[in-house]
């Protein structure tokens, strides 16, 4: 039934697929992505901010040629914003018109007013609709920002891929969408939801992989600088900071340094651009003077460099 041509046939194929779109994944991540695709299960990705959780969904949709439907979660997100809403103004007009034309059949009126054309479809409902390119990629981003009540609502969608609308009936996806759920762990997500998903903790990449990521994302960076950048960031992650930089910050910083035509890391240039890496004043304050020099020295004289 799931005749989707583009799905990769093995873990290695998945790895290649992601790599072909510039996402250099650890093998473990490729494995869970492959399993999620084959088993038709949602994939729950947890990890610190900036390690590339959201990126996975974007890359998958691009690589498989599917539509990307993104639901950004926030506190107060409700059914009207996430699933569907009725176009009340249009319905009201329809009722007035029916009145004007002397229509009195209530059943008929009800059927007319709660028809699909008055239904405003929000991301979750859109994701259940058939698509010519195959089932879409549904990204439910930063689920930890929504409140628990919404999480409970998701349970039905994630296990049965269907939504019930009281006035309209049940909408069921002919083929389950590819679902990626991400969380930054600002609170724990309920076990009931996690149980329906494959779970994977996305960690910071190894130095080697991060180097490859920097090279592919910032093509005009010199080999020497990229090594120093990665060495510095990796050393920074060892420090006792409130928020250590993620891969996204590494890329930002590498881009900033190339824009500034930096040849190698000096205390001056690092100090000027530290804001691209560290986002808390306390952390920036801590990483100054001797502490900074020490980490720079470590990064510049990195034996692997």
């Amino acid at each position: 039934m799931n005749k989707v041509a583009a799905n990769p046939a093995s873990v290695d194929a998945t790895l290649d697929l992601l790599t072909s779109r510039g996402y250099l994944a650890e093998r473990a991540l490729a494995t869970v992505v492959y399993l999620a695709l084959r088993m038709g299960r949602p994939l729950f990705l947890e990890g610190e901010a900036g390690v590339g959780k959201t990126e996975i969904a974007k890359v998958l949709s691009a690589a498989l040629g599917r539509k990307l439907i993104r639901l950004q979660c926030y506190e107060g997100l409700d059914v009207a914003a996430a699933v569907y809403e009725w176009n009340s103004a249009a319905q009201m007009i329809a009722i007035r018109l029916a009145e004007a034309s002397g229509e009195t059949d209530r059943e008929q009126l009800s059927a007319d007013v709660f028809a699909e054309k008055y239904l405003i479809k929000r991301p979750l409902l859109q994701a259940l609709e058939p698509d010519v390119a195959g089932p879409p990629v549904l990204l439910i981003d930063e689920l930890d920002r929504a409140d628990e009540a919404f999480e409970a609502y998701l349970l039905e969608i994630l296990s049965d891929f269907q939504v019930s609308i009281p006035e309209f009936g049940t909408v069921k996806a002919p083929q389950p969408p590819i679902v990626i759920v991400t969380s930054n762990r600002t609170r724990e997500i309920h076990d009931a939801l996690k149980r329906r998903c494959l779970y994977h903790w996305v960690d910071y990449p190894s130095a080697e992989r991060e180097l490859a990521i920097v090279k592919s994302r910032v093509p005009n960076i010199s080999a020497k600088l990229s090594q120093q950048v990665v060495g510095f960031v990796q050393a920074l992650r060892e420090q006792d900071l409130f928020k250590v930089p993620g891969v996204a910050e590494t890329i930002d910083w590498a881009t900033a340094l190339t824009e500034l035509d930096a040849r190698s890391l000096t205390p001056q240039v690092v100090g000027d651009t530290l804001g691209a890496l560290l986002k808390y004043q306390d952390d920036i304050g801590r990483m100054q003077g001797d502490a900074l020099d020490k980490v720079i020295k470590e990064a510049v004289s990195d034996p692997s460099a």
């Binding site: 093998r27 473990a28 399993l35 088993m39 009340s88 007035r96 009126l109 009800s110 009540a149 994977h200």
Partner: protein
Amino acid sequence: MPNGVETPTTGLIADNVIGFARALRVAGLPIGPDAVIDALNAMQLINIGNRADLFTTLESIFVKRHEHALIFAQAFDLFFRRAEGADNMLDSVPLPPEAKKPPPPASRRVQEAFAQSKNVESHEIEEKNIQLSVSDREVLQSRDFAQMSAEEVAEVTRAIAQMKLPQAELRTRRFAPDARGERLDLRRTLRGSLRTGGEIVKFQRLGRIDKPAPIVALLDISGSMTDYTRLFLQFLHAITDARKRVSVFLFGTRLTNVTRALRARDPDEALAACSSSVEDWAGGTRIATSLHNFNNLWGRRVLSQGAIVLLISDGLEREADSRLEFEMDRLHRSCRRLIWLNPLLRFEGFEAKAQGIKMMLPHVDEFRPVHNLNSMESLIAALSSPLTNRRLDSRSAA
């Protein structure tokens, strides 16, 4: 010996996966039968010869919390290294402390209940009983929280049950039907109008949902606080029971999250679970380090939804330095309201002379005594007051 599990994978693999799942379950991971079936299905999709892939596959199905990843990794290592001799695998899996279940701690109360019903006749037995009760008191004074006497449980529970628990409400951004709400509910209005043939008789409304603000308690369990910790734990257990969003951390020389332990219904069971998960009862205090750990590891996870922080400590910190001030400041800035409960405040004419207290004071919204039931009640009144922004003049609130 595959018994009844119909799976195209070879019997040995299926047995291994099932055995492994059982081992993990013993080690404390919540694994349901559906997960095992998932795992068996997934086995058919990957090359099980590849150890790394096998690891990731099983991990993505069996591990649903990052904290469990380490246990899983160790168990996997042990189990699949020597899969041939899988018989006594269960013994070789390293178990986390919570998996080694001790007998339920309520037994002391049961024992006491039985002991009372006995008629004590001879002096010998009486003497023995006296000795027992003296040593009992010693046990209680050593504040091990292992078990509490029936009398104490009754007393404290009664007192706490009489308290009205805090229900300070927070406006959320979600809506629910509410006759006097601020927003028009067009959907329900329309549905209603269909009953009258399109005539709108009544406008339906939506109002914001209120829910209690989350509470995060940081309880000092160092030696100087021993007279109070049990009482506070009882109190925290009561409020954890009554509302959903309460997180409790204990700290002395290190920080321990006991939120889950406190969820147990029975107060004895809860306190026992608490004490078994804490390693530094009645030791020294390292407030700065504990706050640092809290800020870095937990702050973003439990304070993100506008939490009220209760810091219960006497503030007697030996190594009071700028770090303490820094961490207090950070804590203060990341929560809605920081209330410091200090039992030392019960003394008349208490002055903040200790260095640690001086450093912490500028960073709290409220500073109150808490040493008996009365002060606890006034704390509850404070928690129930409407949640406005910080009160800046609260330093003299005592």
